[in-house]
Symmetry: C2
Subunit: 299 residues, 2 copies
């Protein structure tokens, strides 16, 4: 099955307790697409500026990612600068320059309209909805969101949720969206808002998956050093959706295995800055760590 992802491609400048990286490849669509590309064909819809380097275009292309929907616009690429705390669950945004991303109005090339699976990374929910209108008949729609849209574009988000099979968000966002302070009640409430599956991302504590008839908990892979958590959520989504596309099976057991693949990809990406670890990753590495997840959790 083919996947289309709509989101950001950016330059990140990141400081963690372990070091610093300047103007490295980032953005939700980049992390998602590269992670998903290990499993299935991926098409990307995003915008970059004229300063976006050919070498990164070549890297994305080398992963088999379809770049027809990657627009190069006059101006500079989206830039984000952040600093992580000693407790890397916390970070401060030091600078944000939307640049060409400020006018991003995702338009799907004709060749993308038959995509089987659509992942709407974290952008304005109205824009996310506009993407769906351009798809012929997707078999699965998944979306990510954040606090900013939950409070600032709630009506658009609620409309979108009626058209999504899967919503991914973190603990705090789930509580904010639902008005519930307990994560299980929060997820149940969100299921009533449209999605058939809610995936709650809990960083170093793993992921909870909720559907009408199943709750699934998978821990994060225990890493001795998390180097840079940037992009872990989008990489998780890429591994998860990628594995679903590879299997073509949306049953609960298949969803669970795909969630573990998402966790595997996320566990790799945080081992280095940007998505550097994914540049050298192999499918063998992925399958090996999948077996380590089995060993980590079986009883």
């Amino acid at each position: 099955m083919t996947i289309v992802v709509v989101g950001s491609v950016a330059f990140d400048t990141v400081e963690t307790p372990y070091g610093r990286a300047d103007e490295v490849l980032g953005g939700s669509a980049s992390f998602f697409a590269v992670a998903a590309s290990f499993f299935a064909p991926v098409r990307i819809v995003a915008v970059v500026g004229e300063d976006f380097p050919k070498t990164e275009i070549e890297f994305l292309r080398s992963r088999g990612i379809d770049l027809e929907g990657l627009t190069v616009a006059a101006g500079r690429t989206f830039r984000w600068t952040g600093r992580y705390h000693e407790d890397m669950n916390l970070r401060d945004t030091l600078d944000l320059q939307l640049n060409v991303f400020a006018d991003f109005a995702p338009k799907l090339p004709d060749s993308y309209r038959d995509s089987d699976i659509c992942f709407l990374a974290n952008i304005q929910p109205g824009l996310q909805g506009g993407v769906l209108a351009q798809l012929a008949r997707p078999r699965l729609v998944a979306a990510d969101t954040m606090n900013h849209w939950i409070t600032g574009a709630r009506a658009d988000l609620e409309r979108l949720l009626h058209h999504c099979e899967i919503l991914t968000l973190n603990d705090e966002e789930a509580k904010l969206l639902s008005g519930e302070r307990n994560v299980i009640r929060a997820a149940r409430r969100i299921l009533e808002m449209g999605p058939k599956s809610v995936l709650v991302k809990r960083g170093e504590y793993g992921v909870l998956h909720f559907s009408a008839d199943s709750v699934f908990a998978v821990p994060a892979y225990p890493l001795e050093q998390v180097f840079d958590p940037t992009g872990a959520g989008d990489t998780f989504a890429g591994g998860f959706i990628g594995a679903l596309a590879r299997s073509g099976d949306f049953s609960t057991p298949s969803l669970r295995r795909a969630i573990v693949y998402g966790s595997v990809l996320a566990s790799f990406v945080v081992e280095d800055f940007s998505l550097n670890r994914l540049r050298t990753l192999t499918l063998d590495d992925i399958e090996h760590r999948y077996r380590q997840f089995v060993a980590l959790t079986e009883f």
Copy 2:
């Protein structure tokens, strides 16, 4: 196999976002002993004051707990008053009256000396060590500790660790004891200090178990309402050690199953104040929730 537990028996006054309970049965040894009593014979070493009610003595006895080591001393029973935050991972101690517990010098009755398994609940590590000297030849020693002893009685604690097979503690305590800020590195460092197993309790995020050749992660059971988290750690330990005693098997697969039983017991105790939920619990309830843990985690 028989278990001996050394710890506190207390009256707790607890306020949570969901209500308040005054002078209810608490203390590490109470929670542990009642949880373990579902699986194996338990002997208790603790001290209460003359104000300790006969009805609670009868309750403990009704669970088959051997009370020969429960001393009734002149004075009042240990009292703790605490208030939980909206985020129930946080609590404030509002009042602490050690009373008869201030002079607690655990002395094992002769009939306890042949106990197979010893659980040293969270008391001064010097006293914990003194208990070991009174045991004939325990097959397994497990201990719990806390920040207060890690900083205030470090030498005693380090000595004790050489004689423990299992140490239980929380994330923050593991980091403090090891000087490491990553929980995996922290656990590895603690394994070098003596214990063969380190169990890191992470509250609503579950438990991590580390040994030389295995890492095991189990999530907490997702509860729609945590009513009162008091005693969850000791109840976990009671279910865990109880299940180990029932099986008589200390292999890694058996340890893992026992950790799940500990998680099952902890998931019940937080459903009500004090250990009230355990008063009506049955082995059928326990086995049913154990199967729910399988369903929660299998992929």
